[in-house]
């Protein structure tokens, strides 16, 4: 046997060629969107419930024999740009999460598979049809919310009881008006303590505008910026005045700190704050020095809450739309819904699973209120450019939050611009 001697130069040349071909190969398509017959890919952003998603997907794999190829989760903010590259890159996953702000834009741009016919086969008795209807648009229905995280007022029960205040435990408007909440906040504010915090969760914009009798941030047809209507302006100004006028809410600057409201609350220095159901788990783990509970949103003209929807969609360009749909069906089903409900993560789309939420109360907190809140759900009317609209009006609102201008000045100054992009 003869051996060919390889010169150092030849070896390096070969390695160079290998590197070059490697660089070229790296430009080729990856396995992200491709699906072998027994695979479906899945993309999500990272949140507090990553373990629950893992449980659900593991259970699906065991039940179906299909492998779920899970792309690495990225933080929420990063995902808001990443979804565009996932969809436009040509190889999107079989099932992916999508911020509810973008559902209409992506459906209108025909980026999502139209699952309308398949979804219409789901039983309305088994599922919350009004929540599922969020994704049903004129241009198609590309996915479903697997659940909703209602927003309520979390409150420091010990602090409020000491002040002789007992918030209502059910969604009855006469018991709990905006002025009642303000009075309660004033009662417990003092020293390092603040009575209330509403504005770190941006869901307050729509919730308070709707409860003040307006249509919310956008009109029903998605072409008008109705937050700039009198009802919207008055609602937001009321929230801003909690800080600037009544001094019962921390300043905007303070609240821009990471989880500032949560830290203030768990330290026992905040009476009430506006948050989603998902925070109940955090409360159970972190609140040790006092009792806490949840109360309904205060009423004015309406008493609604904007629940945060966990929407999953099947991209049209996905390698396997059928497998994506099958996985979505699993995630909105009873078994998967139970995983999330039993952990108190959100109210699943499946009614039977949703009933399990009440049993998650471990410290006597009123978890049944979340299920009740789901019946008073309002959603932001979708537009074809919601993200861009938000980027236009929110910077101006920030100026109102810090008292540079009034809410009316802030919202009316950008109304034309916002309506130009959504109109």
């Amino acid at each position: 046997m003869t051996m060919t001697r390889i010169s150092r130069r030849s070896l390096i040349t070969g390695l160079g060629a290998l590197g070059a071909s490697g660089a070229l190969a790296a430009c080729g398509g990856g396995p992200a969107g491709s699906a072998t017959p027994n695979e479906v890919s899945f993309a999500n952003w990272s949140d507090n419930f990553a373990d629950l998603y893992t449980q659900s997907l593991d259970a699906y794999e065991a039940q179906s024999g299909v492998t779920v190829v899970r792309q690495a989760d990225v933080p929420f903010d990063d995902y808001q740009t990443r979804f565009r590259t996932l969809l436009s890159g040509g190889q999107p996953p079989g099932l992916m999460r999508l911020n509810d702000d973008f559902v209409r834009e992506m459906t209108d741009k025909e980026q999502l598979a139209d699952l309308g016919e398949r979804i219409s086969g789901l039983s309305e008795e088994e599922y919350f049809a009004d929540v599922a209807a969020f994704t049903a648009l004129e241009s198609g229905q590309g996915g479903l919310p697997i659940g909703s995280s209602p927003r309520v007022l979390f409150y420091n029960k010990t602090m409020l009881q000491e002040a002789g205040i007992t918030p209502p435990s059910s969604w009855v408007p006469d018991q709990w008006q905006w002025d009642d909440v303000l009075a309660a906040a004033q009662e417990v504010t003092g020293g390092d303590r603040y009575g209330i915090c509403l504005w770190t969760d941006t869901g307050f914009e729509n919730t308070f505008a709707v409860n003040n009798g307006g249509p919310g941030i956008f009109s029903a047809d998605g072409t008008s910026f109705t937050l700039a209507d009198p009802a919207g302006i008055e609602a937001i100004q009321w929230v801003v005045d909690l800080t600037l006028k009544h001094k019962v809410q921390p300043t905007w600057a303070y609240l821009t700190g990471e989880d500032a409201d949560l830290r203030l609350f768990t330290a026992g220095n905040l009476g009430m704050f506006f948050g989603t159901m998902g925070l109940a788990t955090y409360m159970r783990e972190n609140v040790t020095d006092f009792e806490w509970d949840v109360a309904p949103m205060p009423a004015k003209v309406e008493q609604r809450q904007e629940g945060s929807l966990s929407v999953f969609v099947v991209p049209r360009e996905s390698a396997d739309v059928d497998r994506g749909w099958e996985l979505l069906q699993w995630m909105v089903g009873r078994e998967s819904g139970s995983i999330f409900a039993e952990a108190g993560a959100f109210i699943p789309l499946h009614r039977e699973a949703a009933a399990l939420v009440e049993k998650t109360s471990t410290q006597g907190e009123n978890m049944a209120l979340f299920a009740e809140a789901a019946g008073y759900q309002t959603t932001v009317n979708s537009t074809r450019a919601t993200a861009q609209a938000v980027q236009l009006y929110r910077p101006q609102l920030e100026r109102a939050y810090i008292g540079e201008i009034s809410v009316e000045e802030a919202l009316t100054s950008v109304r034309a611009q916002v309506e130009r992009v959504i109109g």
């Binding site: 390096i12 070059a20 436009s88 300043t251 700190g257 810090i402």
Partner: protein, 320 residues
Amino acid sequence: MSGPRSSVSSADMSVLTEPTASAVARPERRRQRRRAALQGWAFVAPLVIGIAVFQAYPLLVSLWASFHSWDGFTTPTWIGLDNFTAMPADELLVNSVKITLLFTLGSIPLTVVLALLLAVLCNRGGRISSSFFRTAYFTPYVTSIVAISLVFTQFFAPEGVINQVLGLVGIDGPEWLADSTFALVAVIVVAVWQGVGYPMVILLSGLQAIPKELYEAADVDGASPPARFLRITLPLLTPQLFFVLITQFILSFQIFGVVFVMTSGGPGNATSVFIYYVFQNAFSFGQLGYASAMAWAMFLFIVALTVIQLRLQKKWVFYA
């Protein structure tokens, strides 16, 4: 037949008919040259392919996109120069250019003066102390801007370290990142702190290249330290200062990371710099065509100003 050719001897004929050693070697040399050329191309191929695929191709696509209305999803539509002509009427774009110019005006003088001061101090120190400070000041430059910005976000919080220190001397610090005036100041401070190391090293190298004899001669002539600095150091440092100014100018127009992490362009649009607005258009608003046009407009603007600076350098840069 008689003539010159008939006079060629048989020995000479053999030279003509049989290949010489050099003639034999020629094809071999060509082969070797070809092989060497191929090897050379193989060596540079990864880099050339990398540049072509990851830089040249995206640049060309971006140039193409700048003449189209394109959201990344739907079919691009040719709109000629519309993306460019729409820019002057875009209030947010005009605002972002103003903010970027303010940032440039605030950060460049600070960076250059601070870098020069630090370079002079490092140049004067002993070998160990000089190495230590050089490393210390250069470290932020090679540290993740995200990590730095996150830390400074805490420092600039209403009850953060900076306001606590100000409180010690009786100053009630502002709400830095939530105040339209002070948010940009905070961004400039962080950008300068992070970026001062690089120009410092460049200027330090310039200082170390100045011949000692010039200072010795100045000493003999009785020149004071300020005079030595103004008459010797500064003129001989102008090539490095010019380089620093050009690079800092370009970098200041590309500021993004600090703004993205610390303020997201807020409050209001008080820190919405140009590149942040380009990013928003491309990846939040889905206006890839318009964002590309803005990026190319900025490129042309920077090229124009750099050319002007290159022309002006003849008046103040002294090449020894």
